[in-house]
Amino acid sequence: MLQTLWENRIQCVAVLIFAVGFSTLLLHRNLVKKIIGLNIMDTAAYLFLTSIGYIRGRLAPIIVGTDTDPSHYANPLPAGLVLTGIVVSVSVTALMLALTIRLYDQYHTLNLDEIYYMALREQEGGQ
């Protein structure tokens, strides 16, 4: 098992980065840090995905001359999927940051707990 883990060390690093992102997301109460955590998680998933496409000793999947022998090139599909993933991640990050700005405008803090209590108080006060 240790040997296969060592062979797949890139995936292992991806898992560790994923955990770093996930713990950042869970443990920090600051919204911006949470967003950073989400981004780290996404990035780890892309690292994982990219590493699947790599094949030892082969070229990037851009055809050179007339050589279309598949055994000379790496796998193009993971690269395409990562591209999709990155676009999605950019979009949701922008959306989350915009939400953060709105929330900050309304509550003047980025700490989610404080915001939550303020919102609760608002609710109780409203009745």
């Binding site: 989400l38 998933a45 979009s91 959306l95 989350m96 939400l99 709105r102 309304q106």
Partner: protein, 496 residues
């Protein structure tokens, strides 16, 4: 091959175009275009449903010149067409019924952007229902997430923004896990198209090769979709999200979006994992357990609430529990019950949210029960809509809710292990549902001590009245003549 197999493509591209075009139109035209599009989608899917029911098998529709396993594909069969029809109809009725509150909640903000988001939700629901490709599922899950967040946060009060942040965080964790699961499965199979994936996974399961990544991939996908649809330990975002959104959005999010994810999960179980592998791996036991706990916990939390929106939202958590319990019982009768309950809930919950909005508006805007005393007298349509929905959630005769409960009970008898707990929990949950829904209905029809608010003339709320009456009518109709629907679902599941 009939021309009608092209309809899903037209519907998906048409709703994308509607979204894009609505973003430059004025408020009124955006609304008209969006409504027209949703109606057309419902009609086209209805035609397709007719064709596919007659055909009796599923059709795969290549998106481009390359068949699976190379190119993207859609699969069409009668169950998918049925679900699309119901979803589009309910979306239309949600937009129609919440029109008055939309105008109030959005103010003179650019209302056309609301319809952009609604059209995007429609697109992604269609794509999630029809897709034959796991990664397409991921892309449209993300569109669905962003668009539903848009529907939610477009009402910009503090609580809604906070709710959207929580919703987004949960959703993004869910889609991140989904993506990771897809990556694991791709790594061991090399396929993203469902038919090949199923074949390869079945072979791998037989040979015992790559057992750990296989289980991990399947569970990550399941967990991701469970988080996004709000299964028990992940239901915390629900009350805030549904409770503070504008009523149309609450209806769309609870009735359609979460159901879209569950339907995608069902589709993956049947078409991508294969029931043998999925049920062989035992993941369904966990779903069953969480579903059962969710049914009770959701209802207990609903009893605690004295805010009508949050109560209905917690009841959603309980209903999601029902659906997952059905998936957990067995792949045939259990899933039939789950699909029926998906439809039940998609029809009932928007009706409840829309009716609550009308009632609270009639009672001066407060969502508390105390203020709602006798609200049904000032707005009898909303009272009727709420009562039918609530009775259906309780499971009284002549409503869809009873049929759903009957189907769950029928499925329970299949499994020796799960029979007793299922029946007991069904009973408990019915009692709890009765506790909180009956109390609301009694409140609504209790003559208040103070003077009644002036009855709201029906004329002024024709859009809402139409949508409430259609939703209640569908509920009663499908509750009384349920057999055709059930046999359609069963036939559809066989083709899956």
């Amino acid at each position: 091959m009939s021309f009608s197999v092209n309809f899903p493509l037209f519907c998906i591209v048409g709703s994308l175009l509607t979204a894009v075009v609505s973003s430059v139109l004025g408020d009124r035209w955006a609304r008209r275009v969006c409504m027209a599009m949703v109606s057309v989608v419902a009609v086209l899917n209805g035609v397709l449903l007719g064709y596919l029911t007659g055909l009796g098998r599923s059709v795969s529709y290549t998106m481009g010149h390359y068949p699976h396993p190379w190119g993207n594909e859609l699969t069409l069969d009668s169950l998918e067409a049925l679900v699309s029809v119901v979803f589009s109809l309910v979306l239309l009725l949600c937009l129609l019924g919440g029109k008055a509150q939309l105008q109030r909640d959005l103010g003179d903000r650019k209302r056309n952007l609301y319809y952009v988001m609604a059209a995007l939700v429609q697109t992604s629901l269609l794509a999630l229902v029809y897709t034959n490709d796991v990664f397409t599922g991921y892309v449209f899950i993300e569109i669905c997430t962003i668009a539903s967040c848009g529907l939610l946060m477009i009402r910009q009060i503090g609580r809604t923004t906070l709710a959207s942040v929580r919703y987004m965080i949960f959703s993004l964790i869910g889609s991140g896990l989904f993506m990771l699961g897809v990556v694991f499965l791709y790594n061991i199979t090399g396929h993203l198209l469902m038919p090949e994936l199923k074949q390869t996974l079945a072979d791998l399961w037989q040979s015992g090769l790559y057992r750990a990544p296989l289980l991990t991939g399947m569970s990550l996908i399941t967990i991701g979709l469970a988080i996004k649809s709000g299964l028990f330990p992940f239901h915390f975002w629900m009350p805030d999200t549904y409770g503070y959104a504008t009523p149309s959005s609450a209806g769309i999010l609870s009735g359609l979006v979460s159901k879209g994810y569950i339907f995608l999960l069902l589709k993956l179980i049947f078409r991508a994992f294969g029931t043998q592998v999925f049920y062989g791996a035992g993941i369904h036991h966990i779903l069953y357990l969480l579903g059962v706990i969710g049914m009770v916990v959701g209802s207990v939390s609903a009893i605690r609430e004295d805010d009508i929106f949050r109560m209905v939202a917690y009841s959603s958590a309980a209903q999601i529990g029902y659906i997952y319990m059905g998936i957990g019982i067995s792949p045939d009768l259990g899933v039939t019950a789950a699909v029926y309950h998906i439809l039940t809930h998609a029809i009932t919950k928007p009706a409840l949210f829309l009716a609550s909005a009308q009632l609270t508006d009639g009672a001066g805007g407060s969502k508390r029960f105390r203020e709602l005393q006798g609200a049904a007298y000032s707005n009898w349509v909303a009272g009727l809509g709420f009562s039918v929905g609530a009775l259906s959630m309780i499971g009284l005769p002549f409503t869809m809710g009873l049929i759903a409960k009957y189907l769950f009970a029928r499925a329970a008898f299949q499994s020796e292990l799960k029979m007793i707990p299922t029946l007991v929990v069904l009973g408990i949950s019915t009692v709890l549902n009765t506790l909180y829904f009956a109390r609301t209905i009694l409140r609504l029809y209790n003559r208040p001590k103070r003077k009644l608010a002036k009855p709201c003339p029906v004329r002024r709320q024709i859009p809402y009245a139409v949508s409430a009456l259609v939703l209640s009518g569908m509920n009663l109709l499908l509750g009384i003549v349920a057999q055709p629907l059930i046999s359609m679902i069963e036939q559809g599941l066989k083709q899956f």
